[in-house]
Amino acid sequence: MSIFTKAFWLQLSSPKVFYPIADKSIPWLLTATVLLLLVGLYYAFIVAPVDYQQGNSYRIMFIHVPAAWMGMWIYVVMCIYAIIGLIWNTRLSNMMAAALAPTGALFTFLALWTGALWGKPTWGAYWVWDARLTSFLILLFLYFGFMSLRAAIDDPRRAARASALLAMVGIVNIPIIYFSVKWWNTLHQGASITLDKAPTMAASMFTAMMIMAAAFLTYTFAVAFMRIRNEILEKEKNSAWVNEIVGPEK
């Protein structure tokens, strides 16, 4: 089937069609992650110059910034999937939202953690109640809330719909995080990379950051597909095609 037809894209929402695609792309995504990480870390540690103000401590940025991007981006994607699931009741989009949440929480935690470690040498404190930091902490709790609400409700359809509503309520936080450094001139610095200006950092630093972000992106898809693979097998365990893959249930 041609990829230019609507039917091709619609059939992807069927777990049976999506399963082999996820299954086959996982090794590729994992390989890409490892390669990108190697290149990205090489750039981050060896090619990128020492910062004239912060010395070598700034290098944690190459984890911190991409992790923060991913934490916010995954939330938006998760919310979009959850809304699609809420409107059209598609099982796969609910599974996708559930599969993305733990990775999003992981990256949000990583961003907060590396931020704390970075804050100590540069600001002199692990944590301050700065607008950016606080709104990011709220993001972490929104992920926790999303996951625990989903886990606490037994009926999968109700769990999906309730957590989708929570995700929608929480989406107001995303623009707050993004603009927090502009609205409140507190400790956290403004963005060095924006869409409308050239980045205010050395080109090799920028390259390293982009490669790390790409590595995190492929990692996200790899683990999300791994989770969704399990989820599909679990949910569809009574169907014929799953029995063909894993053998009949004992």
Partner: protein, 128 residues
């Protein structure tokens, strides 16, 4: 939905507003700060009731609903608490409180508009 939330606020938020001057005097706040405190509570506590209603709707009849409710709702309370206490702080140090009040007011208007809809949707999900 809105009337339910309003009655909840009358039972929880309003007493706090009324009792705050007494507590304020005990803690040695000046009269001006106490007025500011009362006003922030007057604007802020309805927001808490409104957000809480959505959380309560979502956790209706869920195992361990109480703990879950606090996990869902408390993070969303943080901004309101920050700006509420920020206003009193600003008033005490002689700075303008207008910005804090504008933001609290914006929270209230936004929550008034969206929270009843959200809570109704949450109840619908919980009941079917």
């Amino acid at each position: 939905m809105l009337s339910k939330i309003l009655s909840h606020w009358f039972l929880t938020g309003l007493p706090l507003v009324l009792i705050s001057p007494i507590l304020g005097f005990q803690l040695g706040l000046e009269t001006e700060s106490i007025i500011i405190l009362m006003m922030t509570l007057l604007i802020g506590t309805p927001v808490l009731s409104l957000i809480g209603a959505v959380g309560a709707g979502l956790t209706l009849g869920v195992r361990g609903g109480g703990v879950l409710l606090s996990l869902l709702v408390l993070p969303l309370y943080i901004p309101v608490l920050i700006f509420g206490s920020g206003a009193v702080d600003a008033a005490r140090s002689g700075l303008g409180v207008e910005a804090h009040f504008s933001l609290l007011g914006a929270f209230l208007v936004g929550a008034l508009l969206l929270a009843p809809l959200g809570a109704a949707a949450a109840l619908r999900i919980s009941l079917d």
